[in-house]
Symmetry: D4
């Protein structure tokens, strides 16, 4: 079996579920990623690459690298063209602390790749409540709110009690001791005392953005057939 | 401190976050629940009670019991009046197996309590894929899909690859051995290979419904200001 | 070895560490507890019994039961005389939800047993932030704050950002799914983004009160030799 | 005790249990592996080395390296001669995603080392069900099916509902957050809603192949004495 | 939705995967089980019920109970007719200790329900190796060996080194302390030093039997087309 | 969003909760830390940096490095001026073993940064009880005692039975096997048989010092209004 | 297979490993235990039954019950004759708290069943160090020391630093919160800072006694051939 | 506090508990280790250093390195003189696999450092039972048996059923997947079906040797006063 047989890109995905194909780079060899990019290029398709850290990016075929808009902070790469971003931002992305920014940016880049604008809010964690309250009206203006938080992940619960929109919490692996790896943050958001908060995997900014895209898609259908 | 001082009902919640006040009965004494119902009655308010199992229900003041529409399967009680259900069902609630029905019903009762219709689909787990595929078009017709699944919780991933709408997975505690308590199901849905699936706590049908209500609320805002 | 040899009461403890001897009833047989009470009576000593639930209390020798002030909610019993409570309340005990009240009461009873007043605040969790903010000034008036919270245990972090006093968080086992048993709450408070919050074991209202007593004792020493 | 006394090769194993001796390289020093290869060479025996990554391979005695057919992807080395592969492929090896290919290849190399052919199927995970269904007939043609899957490991359940043959699931450590290390995938396959799926250790492609060899061995006995 | 809509029996399963439909009773209400039995009766079908403990069995409709061959030890019920058992036993079921017998019997009943004979071996754990060695030749005579073991689950490793056939290990929840719940036994068999041992969920005698049935099915295909 | 928007320093914190702003460096990029230092400098403020290991320190802008008093052992940096240390030491910091010294020093540096003196006691673990008993009187002279201990973390329990002051235990990640990561030490101190011991996160010397500062602050208030 | 075939008593065990056969009652049905006792009676053998709680004991055949010396505290039964206890006590059994006495008694009964005397010391935990130090000389007089301790299990570490003899620690499941089930105590003793402490399973008083018997057996061999 | 104040060597330990002082190098800085060696040298004392890997050894002061007998395999260093080894080997050290040899050697070096001889047996794991049975008589000749085993750690149970002497099991971290880190091996030996097996921490060859030394010490006392 050649490397080219080791993957099957799902170009019918946008039509089926409204989400562009994306490639999780962390578990793949440079040879596999290069073959995938080759296949996308042959088809004239764009691709979002997630978990593409600087080392992995540097190991790719230079001809592919040149066609990738790479962001080291969020470890994302956009290969080929992307849709133009249209309309006002409907998604607020809130990072509890400065250390949660990379995850927030992964969500932001995923949204813009699919043509959706988003607004970022950083370092508004609950230990200094004034940092949140002075911006809560702005956040509330977005019907969908993604909240990235590590450590005790108390922020989604507080936001959940203040905002009526849809909330997607992304626990992050920020922290040490019991917080290490993000399980404490994950369990906290799953056990949130604020009702109706949904959760995605630890550090999964990409998944949170996809959830937001699904929601915007559903909203559009409802607007068309209320 | 008297029992009446042990709680503070949040009647401003609907206006703030679009969700009616609800009472988690599992951790409260009958005396506490009776005092809460008394306070709601005094105000002419309705209340949803969750995790109100048959024993706990039977221990309440008979005058309160008479005003409660209790469902033993979903362990929910509706105290006082409820909003009329209007409009077509926008939420599909899918139970992977027969044993997941109680959690699905908790979600359904929470939605109807707040005036939203839902459609239930039961026993469509992936071990007999034909059971799902013969109903997938019906499911797809709903912009929001709640999927309750225990054991390996493979169903949300399969549904996630077939449906474009918003998906809220509820892992259930159905199963034994490694599945006991629902952690295996929870981790499976969090690690789903299908993008954009959101998750709530184990057995949290109430939370999944609240998430759906938030989504519908957000959709409405978007429809009004696209 | 007779039952009387199975325990050694530590009546020198108050002098050594400032805390009265207490008996953890959960792991002991009624015969053992009765023998302990007999020994205390012989010495004219008082005793605090923790984790003495209704069944265990009912199984004791009736002559001992008559001398015990038992509280079923907090599962505590006070045998013999107690010190008079003097001075204004220096400890605020905050219960995030109504279900956390039993743990809060265990702390309160431990404090009053040793002659210290406390103020209880219940159901001020962060999902409805107004419930906390309307009482925060009162809480702030106490130099020591015990916060009992289950589920996501977000309250101690918020309080920790608003209050300058010493904070002892007591995670509780309130909740289900990932919250069951209290480990999620425990990890959340240990990983708190608010600095200087200390923690005791899950559901350990007794321990939180003892920590407060140690602190008040230390304060007294400092006041005497600043 | 010299290095030569630190191991005891089990050359009687094929006769006893039908499986050639193999050496788990990960826990051994280069000196130990070299001594083992020396002993095999002296006896004219072949050996399969597992978990022999590129660094460990490079650290071996060059004279041994020259006699090893090394595969960096699967981290396997075949020392000396191997049996010729005969007969049609009886084992299908299915890799859910591209990232599961290394584990699948370890299984394939173990089978071919022992003279058994296998067919690989890659990137047929359930998030795009069409990728599986278009190949299911081919997979079904093999009486034994090995399925390597990480993250939520939903594929073995779906395959288990579509295929009558023996199924050996290999959970992989592919993924991050709750999927990290492979425990989520392992628990999912153990809790599978499809009956009769067997499981081996995380990333244990070698063990899955050995299980397949045992199955083929058992089948042969049954064919001879039905 | 009525109870009758809460399940979908999969009567096409035998043809699809070679295994009769079975009903996991533990998670279902008596009303659900009765409705399922009613549906099976209407179709003239048989059913295997697993995890049907004495209390759950007693709660069923008496007319259904009369048609069920119930075994309290293995908590299994066979509803309706069963296939005649034909041919010599091809499966050895080995219980490490006396306490593992219920799990072994669940496997045995599942096999005989589908017309396959099995031989049971009990209390042959490795702490008294002579108990195993005196029976190993008998065990070896079966091409498929199911080994049920709790606590340290050392038996499957020893059997795996002595027997060439296919081995399915069933860890059991027998034991206390670190052994409680069966995770220690599960991890031990997954980490077995003997190659090619496959594993099913804790206490899953039913699943082990299904795995054996899959294997016998595969063997038959191989015998027909070698 | 620029780097400068990724953080919001909380310069009102001292007034609000009595603790200076500090920066957790581990989760931040050098660019983020440099921007934070720039902002502090612009305001003429000091900052404590925690988890600033040698590599991270070396990656900072040289102009900032020159203004930082860095301690590699405790991985702390003090930027700008610090308060003068006044008064006798009120806090004893006890390190169970030599390996616990870095955590103890993080606590010490945090205290001195805020103008509080402390006394360090090292290698007084209970395996050689004489090492503790010969210094216990000195320790007892401090109204607040921080105890850093890894492995079995038995020391806080013994100290807790000998000392009347407030005790803050810091479990450390020192050790291997079951002790690795510090969870064993954490659970031991939470489960301490000595009453009134409080706990902070694993390796959180900074948090222990903050807790001590809160205690001293509370004591001061009590001294002023007894 | 009849019940009589479900067990194989190992009467050769004393000669092989120096320990009498014993029966773990917790996992066995009354029918199984009765059959085992019948077999022992037929052979004129004695038996030790462990984990035989009052309910299980009451369910046995009355003719067997009459021949059993049952102890409800330690849940042990001695069937038939026992060896006379000879010689001075060589084993000290130390129970940290009163709640650890049942485990200590299980050890004591196992020792006396095999003819060895032991001395019990109860409630000497480290939170009141004087309780230990006043008895340490007596404890030291025994060459083998069993220490049963729950919660933080700090006692074995302290004893290990004071006593030169062989130490077997038995963690107990006494405690709640993080201590529940005994894992915290187990990890603490495994991670003990005192060297040479050995450990058995949680609550395994029987196993600790067997370890002591092995030690005494070994000592006897050494004494005979120094 | 200077580095010299960061440790307190316990030179009275041999007299108190029969074990020489040893230094756990893993958690200490080179500066700390050098200071400790300086102090030992000043006193003319020897020291055993454990977990002193090649890098840490290379970082020490060359003058100290020259006085250390370092073994890279077992990561142990012996500083200064050691006692002469006298008498026949009383301790058998059994390594289940070749990968367990480093732990076995740590035990061996600890014993010889204190003047005790030991015999090593390697690669006698139960997957090829003949490797054990051919050497079991030799092993049995030693009154104390240390068994190091990773993965499923089945060997101690089998040895425990064949040998009457004292058994100390050392679980090792050898293995991957569920075996990674050694918890599976640890739990298996704690849950052993063979009675009287004692356990030390994962990879703790040093601790196993200390346990053996305690036992030999106890035996000597018993021989002197039987």
């Amino acid at each position: 079996m050649s490397v080219a047989e080791e993957f099957t890109l799902d170009f019918g995905r946008p039509e089926r579920i409204g989400l562009e194909e994306a490639v999780y780079a962390a578990g793949k060899s440079p040879a596999q990623i290069d073959a995938i990019l080759e296949a996308a290029k042959a088809r004239g398709a764009s691709l979002l690459l997630t978990r593409l850290d600087a080392d992995r990016f540097a190991a790719l075929d230079p001809r592919h690298r040149d066609r990738i808009d790479h962001c080291a902070v969020s470890r994302t790469g956009i290969f080929g063209n992307r849709r133009p971003v249209t309309g006002p931002p409907r998604v607020a992305i809130v990072a509890a602390g400065t250390s949660d920014v990379p995850v927030a940016r992964e969500a932001e880049r995923t949204l813009t790749y699919q043509g959706r604008a988003a607004t970022l809010f950083a370092d508004v964690g609950v230990a200094g409540l004034w940092r949140l309250t002075r911006r809560i009206e702005e956040i509330r203006a977005h019907p969908v709110v993604i909240v990235a938080a590590g450590m005790d992940a108390a922020l989604p619960s507080v936001v959940g009690g203040l905002v009526a929109g849809a909330i997607v919490a992304v626990p992050t692996s920020v922290g040490y001791g019991v917080a290490e790896g993000g399980r404490a943050a994950l369990d906290a958001v799953l056990a949130s005392c604020a009702p109706g908060i949904t959760v995605v995997n630890i550090d999964n900014g990409y998944g949170a953005a996809c959830a937001a895209l699904r929601l915007l898609h559903a909203a559009q259908r409802l607007a068309e057939a209320p």
